[in-house]
């Protein structure tokens, strides 16, 4: 399936899952951040252009859903998509344990970026508390659920092992 078709479908499905299913679970305030995983996967598996476009689309939709439109998440998702493309060729795409760890660090960086750019948050919460009570649980949760999404994208959209000559 072409990425121009498959990623919009995946973004919509992730949105629905995040707003309905995951928001009812006890750990709802920690995500998981599926849109970040999608933007990350697009950049890491397909390239910089795809990462930027998918990141923009996912972030823009999220900003719209938060009542804004063209806001913080549009920028942060684009950076995630673009940033993950820099790892192409440096990390094996099929090295899933390492990719899981990379998702963890990308989530941490993303949370840090959102924290630094949220004026109503940054001056009202102790950074250490934010790290311990928000960043880390979100990163762990996103890492655990996110790797499943990464595998889905890796095998169904990016072509999996066939694409890498195995």
């Amino acid at each position: 399936m072409r990425w121009q078709l498959s990623f919009p479908v995946l973004i919509i499905i992730s949105f629905i899952l995040q707003t309905t299913f995951f928001s009812r679970l006890p750990a709802a305030r920690f995500g998981p951040d599926l849109l970040l995983v999608i933007a990350f996967s697009a950049g890491f598996l397909l390239g910089r252009r795809q990462g930027l476009v998918v990141g923009f689309a996912a972030g823009f939709l999220q900003d719209i859903l938060l009542g804004g439109g063209l806001g913080l998440y549009t920028v942060s998702r684009m950076l995630t998509g673009g940033g993950s493309s820099l790892l192409r060729g440096k990390i094996y795409q099929e090295n899933f344990p390492l990719v899981t760890l990379v998702i963890f660090f990308f989530t941490l960086l993303h949370e840090l970026l959102i924290f630094l750019l949220s004026e109503q948050v940054i001056f009202r919460i102790d950074p250490l508390t934010a790290v311990l009570q928000n960043f880390l649980p979100t990163a762990v949760y996103t890492m655990l659920v996110g790797i499943l999404f990464y595998l889905l994208i890796y095998y169904l959209i990016a072509g999996g092992e066939r694409a890498h000559g195995k």
Binding site: F15, L65, L70
Partner: protein
Amino acid sequence: MYKITKKKIGISSIIILLVLMILLVNVFDFDFYIFRWLENGIYNLLAFFISTVESLASSVENIYSSFFRSRELIQENYRLRQELSELMIYNISLKEIEEENQRLRELTNLEEDLLANPTVVGARRVGLAPASWEKSLLVSAGSNDDVSERMPVVSYGGNLLGVVINAGVSSSQVKLVTDPEFVAGARVAREDSRALGIIRGQPGSSNLLLERIAWDADIEPGDEIVTSGISGDFPRGLPIGVVISVEPASYGLSQTAEVSFNLESRTIEEVLIITDF
């Protein structure tokens, strides 16, 4: 060597323009009509998908429940919960009237602005918007149901839940009281204390903060906090929460109270949007 091609210049220009637009929209509050139109269109489309899935999930859940309890019972339960919430609001207003009457014995020329006959629209929770710090709920009533921006939203027991920040065609976004950007006038609901303050959401916490309370105001743990209605954005007397602790703030020039929020946003199923008060 790094080559600058026309394509790279084009992509860079688009990214720079995009960042500039985001800055203009967010920092300087520029309102582009085309963006607003585009956003509303996309939002309505997205909300339609989410509402459809949520409706389907609710239907499946109801069918499953009907094996144990009749479907009519579930619908009746839903209707009764809505009625109960409405009656709670009336009850609050009556309580307020009673207290006001007492004060009127001592005072004169007091303007009446109580929640006497509110017009409400019932809606179901559709979902919780995904975000790191922001807390907003999607509900199944929109401009088709006369819902518009800045309308107060209450839930079980008439407790204040939030405010409508964007009304789509058939669904709306509600900024929750626990959102760090939420601000509303509030006061202590005690006969011998009418201490005023500003209630705000706290990042990373389900508790709220009542700030800017006068340094000598009479407020203590256990006090019930309700909306003050001073700004006119919210009706007077909607319950918000209960004071947990009180601390001096601004070098003793004011006080700040931590308030436990009466509602748990994750478990809310139905809400009432106050369209007129």
